[in-house]
């Protein structure tokens, strides 16, 4: 049941109606309805793992309480934290990475001449496991570090973990931000509700217009890359980079917008990342909920422990963090390499001392300077090249793709460039980024509440028509697989 389906609309409209009518009188009633809806939503997506989700909620709830209870005994506290880490990481390792490690191990011993074969286990990946596991892990660590109080209300904690707008693909929410909202009764806010609808509209446009149209061009190119000219392969990588961004940011905007309809604000997940001038800035704006999680729970402690190695320690911490970021995406060496490359891109910044440079490009102006434009373009090319690893089935395939780009026909006219499908998609991408550029200083890409009524309604109608005419159906999101 994806957000952009009729089934989902049929599911969510009655929930919304009940929420703001019969259930609005108390926070308990609101939370009960949201939790019941969330469990139903998850069961609809994959009922087989509903019990796993419930088990995860119960165990993490209990462990957090035990950690706080043993506040005077650090050894015991740590023991409960470790149990939590082992449980949550264990879930991920088993369901997501078991076959990967097993295959890699057998292939490794084969390299050393010990012939062995393997039969992979048929392990299904529970939907949203990477997202809800990271959320509960962060919660336990925060409780251990006394940054938050553990929840003493099972209903509220369950909702924090299972809340349906974010359960399948995030954002990876933090208890510090979300729990206080769940602990209060939500009052209907017209402004928030309308803002949520706007964000959903924008997310829909990004997903079913931009991402899906890019996919129809990128997929055949990637699937038959051996037979394409170098210039066509560049075009394929370009469209895939846009597809990946529009797909995931579109999903995130829909999730965040949907949550606003229930009066709960989730954290921003994308902040116009392609308008960045360096890789550090890019990662402050790309999949923000994952990046900040990794910064808080991996990078910061690691870089602190390696601080005596100065810049080299910092580089090791960054690369290790980004390898983990890559690996979080999936059990494939391509993702590890994807993360590694991003980590390597940071090295010049570390040595030049510009790692913390982050600012809104061309703030207060319409056009960027030439230098800013060149920096953005170069960064986009780097991201585009790295995304080839994200898309490819193996590192070998990605490298072959890149090698094939640098063939004799790299400067030829890409196949199909002047087809109407290509031209329309390029036109749509232009509109997409034009609107993003205009709103790059705002809280989200389609925050247009300060527009006058005519411009605001023209924008709605324009997006509606683009969705209606150029939208393509889609039943999944790229990030569902993670």
């Amino acid at each position: 049941m994806v957000f952009n389906s009729i089934k989902f609309v049929v599911f969510v409209l009655p929930v919304l109606f009940l929420y703001w009518s019969f259930f609005k009188k108390s926070k308990v009633a609101q939370n009960v309805l949201l939790l019941a809806s969330s469990l139903f939503f998850y069961a609809w997506a994959d009922w087989r793992f509903l019990f796993l989700l419930i088990a995860s909620i119960i165990i993490n709830y209990y462990l957090a309480l035990k950690i706080r209870k043993e506040v005077d005994d650090e050894a015991k506290q740590r023991r409960f934290l470790y149990i939590g880490l082992v449980f949550n990481v264990g879930l991920l390792l088993y369901f997501k990475y078991f076959n990967f490690f097993y295959e890699s191990f057998v292939e490794l011993i084969n390299v050393f001449g010990i012939t062995s074969s393997y039969t992979t286990l048929s392990i299904l990946l529970p939907l949203g496991i990477s997202f809800f596991t990271f959320q509960t892990l962060g919660y336990l660590i925060d409780v251990y570090n006394e940054e938050i109080d553990p929840s003493h209300n099972f209903l509220e904690f369950s909702l924090f973990v299972a809340y349906f707008p974010k359960i399948l693909s995030g954002p990876i929410e933090r208890a510090t931000k979300m729990m206080p909202q769940i602990q209060e009764k939500r009052a209907f806010s017209y402004e928030l509700f309308v803002d949520g609808l706007r964000q959903i509209l924008w997310g829909l446009f990004a997903k079913i217009v931009i991402a899906e149209n890019c996919a129809t061009i990128a997929n055949p190119i990637f699937n038959n890359y051996e037979d394409q000219s170098g210039s066509t392969l560049i075009l394929g990588a370009f469209f895939y980079a846009i597809q990946l961004y529009a797909d995931f940011s579109g999903y995130s905007n829909m999730a965040i917008g949907l949550s606003k309809l229930f009066g709960i604000q989730l954290m921003r997940n994308f902040a116009t990342p392609f308008f960045s001038t360096n890789i550090s800035d890019f990662w402050r704006k790309w999949h923000i909920s994952l990046t900040t999680w990794m910064m808080d729970y991996v990078f910061t402690p690691l870089s602190f422990s390696l601080r005596s190695y100065q810049k080299n320690g910092l580089i090791i911490s960054i690369i290790a963090t980004f390898v983990l970021v890559g690996f979080w995406h999936g059990a494939n060496w391509t993702f590890v390499f994807y993360g590694l490359l991003h980590g390597i891109y940071f090295i010049p910044l570390v040595y030049s001392g510009k790692m913390n440079t982050s600012e809104i490009v061309a703030k207060g102006k319409f056009f960027p300077s030439i230098i800013e434009f060149i920096k953005m373009l170069l960064l986009f090319i780097l991201i585009m090249a790295t995304d080839i690893f994200f898309r490819a089935n193996s590192i070998k395939e990605a490298i072959n793709y890149i090698i094939s780009i640098f063939s004799d026909d790299i400067f030829s006219i890409p196949q199909g460039l002047f087809n109407s499908n290509y031209l329309i998609t390029i036109f749509l991408i232009f509109i997409f980024f034009f609107i993003e550029w205009n709103n790059r200083e705002k809280k989200h890409d389609f925050e247009i509440n300060n527009y006058n009524i005519f411009l605001r309604w023209s924008s709605y109608v324009f997006l509606f028509l683009l969705i209606l005419f150029f939208g393509k159906s889609s039943e999944t999101f790229i990030y569902f697989q993670f």
């Binding site: 209907f188 509700f193 037979d227 499908n421 509606f464 005419f469 150029f470 393509k472 159906s473």
Partner: protein, 312 residues
């Protein structure tokens, strides 16, 4: 305030839905997609199978050749397409499509009809099929078929104004046949193109072999389908001509395929017409699918053979 807001939302939703329905309807009056015409009428005869039959057998030629027989109170429809593997989903769709007790049913078979993704058990093969076209709709006979357009049509509605997705070499007939012409108004498919596409087809087959398995579930439903169709009229099993290299790959992975199919045909007392050995007489545009002229010639031969069998 809340009340006026809800009314406003309601008006917007109704406006949007009205515009959507208007363009859906407009789309239904023109070219929707290559499979749409297979789902817009009841049938008294069906061509069943995958893409080879989809592009290689013209129902109108069969109707013309066999008009002396009392088969066709309803049209014969090419109900073959590349997602139509044997299974419960296809079986149920066939049952809903047929409106006769004296029809003509041509089942085009090759090893491909019996494959499913590697590692799937029967239940999962069924679930896999359910996610494809036939599983998404429950109406196979209406014109216009909004059920199909809303649930299956995946391209943009802009196509209702100017179709971007129609290949200029393909003609999608109202009887479900997808004819592929070598020459179009814009260009001609050359022998070089054919060689190139054939190499892609071969590559596709090589990939497919690694990721697919012969499924007993599909085999069982094939038998079940034949059993059912026998109660509804005359049934013919055929194997279509294709490129010799591709046939060789198929035969190497199911060595006694023809023998087994022939045995099944005999057990049901129906003919098995194997045209794969006559492949050199026909031309494909990609190694697997017949181009227009060959498709017509082949359908004529098939019609004659059916006629001969009916006389016997």
């Amino acid at each position: 305030m809340l009340k006026s807001f809800v009314i406003k939302l309601f008006i917007i939703a109704i406006t949007f839905i009205t515009i959507y329905i208007f363009f859906i309807d407009k789309l239904s009056k023109g070219f929707v997609d290559t499979n749409y015409n297979k789902f817009t009428q009841e049938a008294s005869g069906l061509i069943i199978g995958l893409s080879r039959a989809n592009e290689g057998i013209s129902p109108s030629i069969i109707e013309e050749e066999l008009k002396e027989y009392n088969f066709f109170n309803k049209p014969i429809v090419n109900f073959a397409f590349n997602e139509a593997h044997f299974g419960e989903v296809y079986y149920e769709a066939i049952k809903k499509k047929i409106k006769t007790d004296n029809g003509l049913f041509i089942l085009s078979i090759s090893p491909g009809n019996f494959t499913s993704p590697l590692g799937l058990d029967d239940k999962k093969v069924f679930e896999y099929d359910e996610r494809l076209t036939l599983g998404k709709i429950n109406n196979f006979v209406s014109s216009p078929n909004y059920n199909y357009i809303i649930n299956v049509y995946g391209a943009s509605l802009y196509n209702s104004l100017h179709n971007l997705d129609q290949w200029n070499h393909r003609v999608s007939h109202l009887d479900g046949w997808n004819e592929v012409k070598l020459a179009s108004k814009l260009d001609t498919i050359t022998d070089k193109d054919i060689e190139y596409w054939k190499s892609l087809t071969l590559k596709f087959y090589e990939q497919k072999i690694k990721t697919e398995q012969i499924s007993s579930y599909r085999h069982n439903y094939f038998i079940k389908t034949v059993e059912y169709l026998k109660t509804k009229g005359e049934v013919f099993l055929i194997r279509m001509p294709s490129d010799s290299t591709i046939l060789k790959i198929e035969n190497s992975h199911w060595k006694n395929f023809d023998f087994e199919m022939d045995s099944i045909a005999k057990s049901f007392n129906i003919p098995y017409l194997n045209y794969s050995k006559k492949s050199n007489n026909y031309k494909t545009y990609d190694g697997s699918h017949l181009e227009s002229e060959s498709a017509k010639e082949f359908t004529e031969l098939l019609s004659k053979d059916i006629k001969n069998n009916l006389v016997e």
